[in-house]
């Protein structure tokens, strides 16, 4: 049985009590420990900086040329915090409640409550660092509302919140690099985890400029390596986002939690052709003022697509504002999974818009009438510019076309309350763990979680583990270092020996199609079984017919991609297994066999109120399922309703 290590006691007191009970490392002893932090997004930068401030030695790694470029930089909309500055009824409990409900009752209560508690500290911290959040004329911080919430608790910095938060965390990291407490390794990719006696004791990396494959030792390893949405090839993630670090740790014993929970974001710019390399998100904050609609009838939609009608020809009465119609109390602000599925539904009915018919409108006409173009520009200017840049259409004059796209992965490495994986000494923070968002993440909650984990959780919990270790340095001559390093080297050479007829992207695109078709917005048993076979065949094709060029001892982007796609192929199969196992619908996981009469996701609490944590069993072996039962003592499980 999996032990979540959630402390006993009333929900609101668990974290404070736990902090008190955790063992401490004496300030003078902290410098005897080295902590490896892989990833420098919000989770990694904040963790590395905070741990170095405490006195630990930190080695930090990222694959980009600078820690500032981690994918967190791209977050647009905002970050939640239960500050209740707007006096509109927000509280720690309400943020907790909204997050649990938004996650469709598949997250751990204690973790989510802790997240809500520390959310208020995050905003204070960022402001103290000089993060320029949006302000009102009185000089106080401004807020906006986001999907799945009826209060305004989202802090933002125009449409570039992630950038400003990450630059804040990067500045804290830089300060510690300057102090000599953090050693930063840019352009280094983690390719394996080293364990000694079952404990995480180091990592193997490849220097992406020279090809050097090196080991690094540490008393603890923190994976802050982000999400795996790129398993779908097309997603809103950056091109380099990958599962490699997490996957290789999984193969060394870290269980993978809820891999099938994927978030498909409702407001992205639709695909234009097969040259497409990624999809661009239009922040969900746009749904505050934009209205989603499609023509009422298939005939009108067809005429529009063919250009026989202009958008302005469609009369108000012939427009179906389907979210407002079906969900009067939340309207356009329903959670992401609900908004996405509804878009798919109207498109499947044939009422989609745009040349391909695979899009719906997000219309700002009313907002511009109500607020004026300048006010709309002040709020969303850079998003409108980005839309214009990409589509060559002016959203001030005509509605945006949007369609759902893969955006976030709620699944990830299983961690206990201390953020430790099933490998002692190995932690997972931020999007790469499974812990706080259940089956669906609410907008503006990932930034919150990344910074909560890094600034306010790990500095406490890692000490508890280290305090039990003694002060010996990690034995870098332990044979496991060389053994693991050699395995990585062999794997690299195996990839470089592949000289087939397909490119790595050919395989990746095929994998993406399979995942999107059968393990995307809607899933069913027959489709999933089919997908499993297709992925297995694709994996064979990869290892027999792909081509990887160049040498190891140079910058080699073919090799980098090949390694990542090899891991995505294995992960894809596990996602399908997990989706097959979970014969209920919940949040972003919609099993067609399990829906209410109104077509909404129908949970099966009796049989599936658990976290699925998968244990690796070896090459091509079925993985073993472990369950962590979810207890709800503070909220009543109800069928989610946003009507």
């Amino acid at each position: 049985m999996l032990d979540s290590k959630v402390p006993a006691g009333p929900l609101a007191e668990k974290w404070s009590k736990h902090k008190f009970n955790l063992k401490l490392v004496n300030p003078a002893n902290k410098r005897k420990y080295t902590i490896i932090v892989v990833g420098t997004g919000l989770a990694g930068s904040s963790a590395a900086a905070s741990l170095a401030e405490l006195g630990y030695n930190v080695k930090a790694f990222c694959y980009q040329d600078s820690p500032r470029r981690a994918h967190s930089i791209a977050a647009q909309g905002g970050i939640n915090a239960a500050k209740n500055y707007q006096n509109d009824g927000d509280s720690v409990f309400r943020l907790f409640y909204d997050t649990i409900k938004g996650g469709d009752y598949r997250a751990r209560e204690a973790n989510v409550h802790r997240l809500a508690e520390v959310s208020v500290n995050i905003i204070d911290q960022c402001v103290a660092q000089g993060v320029p959040f949006a302000r009102e004329y009185g000089g106080l911080l401004d807020n906006r509302s986001f999907g799945g919430a009826q209060v305004s608790r989202t802090f933002y910095a125009r449409g570039q919140t992630g950038q400003q938060l990450l630059l804040g965390a990067y500045s804290a990291l830089n300060r510690q690099i300057n102090n000599g407490k953090v050693k930063m390794y840019n352009r280094h990719e983690m390719l394996d985890l080293v364990t000694i006696d079952g404990h995480a004791r180091g990592i193997i990396t490849r220097n992406m400029v020279t090809g050097a494959i090196e080991s690094h030792e540490g008393h603890a390893v923190l994976l802050c390596t982000g999400g795996y949405g790129n398993v779908f090839f097309l997603s809103t993630n950056a091109m380099g986002c990958n599962v490699t670090a997490a996957w290789r740790a999984h193969k060394r014993g870290a269980f993978f939690g809820n891999p099938c929970y994927t978030q498909i974001h409702p407001t992205c710019i639709p695909v234009t052709g097969d040259h497409q390399s990624k999809l661009t998100l239009m922040s969900e904050s746009l749904r505050n003022d934009g209205r989603v609609w499609v023509p009422k009838t298939v005939e009108l939609a067809q005429k529009l697509r063919k250009g026989e009608l202009k958008i302005s020809d469609i009369k108000e009465a012939d427009r179906d504002y389907y979210l407002e119609r079906k969900y009067p109390s939340f309207g356009n602000l329903v959670p992401r999974d609900v908004a996405s599925r509804n878009a798919k539904e109207v498109v499947d009915e044939g009422r989609g818009v745009g040349a391909s018919g695979i899009a719906v409108f997000l219309d700002f006409e009313d907002a511009i009438k109500r607020l004026g173009e300048d006010a709309v520009r002040a709020k969303y200017g850079n998003l409108f510019d980005m839309y214009y840049q990409i589509t060559d259409e002016n959203p001030y004059k005509q509605p945006m076309r949007i369609y759902p796209a893969v955006h976030y992965t709620m699944g990830g490495l299983w961690v206990d309350y201390n953020l430790m994986t099933t490998v002692p000494g190995l932690y997972a923070l931020g999007e790469c763990n499974f812990s706080d968002h259940g089956a669906n993440r609410l907008g503006a909650s990932a930034l919150m979680q990344g910074l909560a984990d890094g600034y306010f959780v790990i500095p406490y919990t890692v000490g508890d583990y280290l305090a039990g270790l003694g002060f010996d340095p990690v034995d870098k001559n332990h044979p496991n270092f060389e053994k693991t390093r050699k395995q990585v080297e062999d794997n690299v050479h195996k990839l470089l020996s592949l000289k087939g007829s397909k490119t790595v992207d050919d395989i990746h695109k095929k994998l993406g199609h399979i995942m999107w078709e059968y393990c995307g917005m809607a899933r069913n048993e027959a489709g999933l079984i089919k997908a499993k076979g297709l992925i297995q065949a694709l994996k064979k094709e990869f290892w027999s017919d792909v081509t990887v060029l160049g040498e190891n001892e140079e910058m080699n982007q073919s090799l980098e991609k090949a390694g990542r796609v090899a891991d995505f192929l294995e992960l894809g199969e596990l996602m399908v297994d997990d989706a097959l196992n979970r014969r209920e619908s919940c949040g972003g996981h919609f099993r067609e066999e399990s829906q209410t009469d109104e077509g909404e996701a129908k949970r099966d609490d009796e049989n599936f109120r658990y976290v699925a944590a998968w244990e690796y069993q070896g090459e091509d072996q079925p993985e073993t399922l472990h369950k962590e039962a979810l207890e709800f003592e503070n909220v009543k499980l109800t069928q989610r309703s946003y009507k």
Partner: protein
């Protein structure tokens, strides 16, 4: 293939920083105007890989114009012909059928080439490490609304803070000066109350590091502002000069 533009590319190829590079000519056929510039290069690279030739290496990640990882000097201009855009946000509709496009890496002594079009910009990180922060530890800070900041001030600080660290300003400048980049960070903190306590020592430390890295001096040609994809303004440089001069004239404690 999804489009009908045919282009000639002259691309800088260089194996590493120890070898000399040269231009190689490629044809890019069947390009759609809806493709981004980097997607066009993806198409070319897929073709190269199929022929067993090493693909063209270039840096990129977010492809949304925010991470600052993409670069490229396109027909003599950093980030290409369009104002206020990064290379990844540049679309092929900004070019025409039959056009020849010359693609080079950023050229600056402080940004050595790693391979082909990818350069080493860690000098920028080292400048930030020298002082681009407020000395606060995690925890124990005042309430976020404790110090109201006038909206105009916050907005101006935000404008400076939007620098994506791409290096186009350096690439655009005939002296390879990094003043626009450095001044943007110094300005952000000089404007905000949180940045006041170390205002002058910060300016000194960052400027000193900038000089150590071998960036050139500023002769006010304004090329950097013209090419900056996010519109960082020259007024930042004026502010930085002021901060730096004050710092030189007075010690930190006297300047306040």
């Amino acid at each position: 293939m999804s489009g009908n533009m045919n282009l000639t590319l002259k691309v800088w190829r260089q194996k590493n920083d120890k070898t000399r590079g040269k231009f190689i000519t490629y044809q890019a056929n069947g390009i759609s105007p809806d493709m981004s510039f980097l997607e066009m290069l993806d198409v070319v690279n897929e073709g190269l890989v199929r022929k067993g030739e090493d693909p063209i290496h270039f840096d990129h990640d977010c492809r949304e114009g925010i991470c600052g990882m993409c670069s490229l000097h396109i027909n003599g201009r950093p980030h290409g012909p369009k104002q206020g855009t990064t290379t990844c946000q540049l679309h092929m509709r900004s070019f025409h059928d039959g056009q020849t496009i010359v693609i080079e890496p950023w050229r600056a002594a402080a940004f050595p080439v790693i391979k082909d079009l990818a350069v080493d910009r860690t000098a920028f990180d080292r400048i930030q490490q020298a002082g681009g922060y407020v000395n606060v530890n995690t925890g124990g800070v005042p309430d976020a609304n404790g110090i109201p900041i006038p909206k105009v001030v916050a907005d101006e600080a935000f404008e400076s803070a939007t620098c994506i660290g791409c290096g186009a300003c350096v690439a655009a400048c005939k002296n390879a000066s990094a003043m626009l980049f450095v001044s943007a960070k110094i300005s952000q903190y000089a404007l905000l109350p949180q940045g006041q306590t170390e205002r002058y020592s910060r300016a000194q430390a960052m400027v000193a590091q900038m000089d150590t890295e071998g960036f050139g001096s500023c002769t006010n040609t304004g090329a950097c502002e013209a090419e900056c994809p996010v519109g960082i303004k020259l007024t930042n440089i004026a502010r930085m000069n002021r901060e730096y001069l004050t710092a030189k004239l007075f010690k930190e404690e006297e300047a306040h």
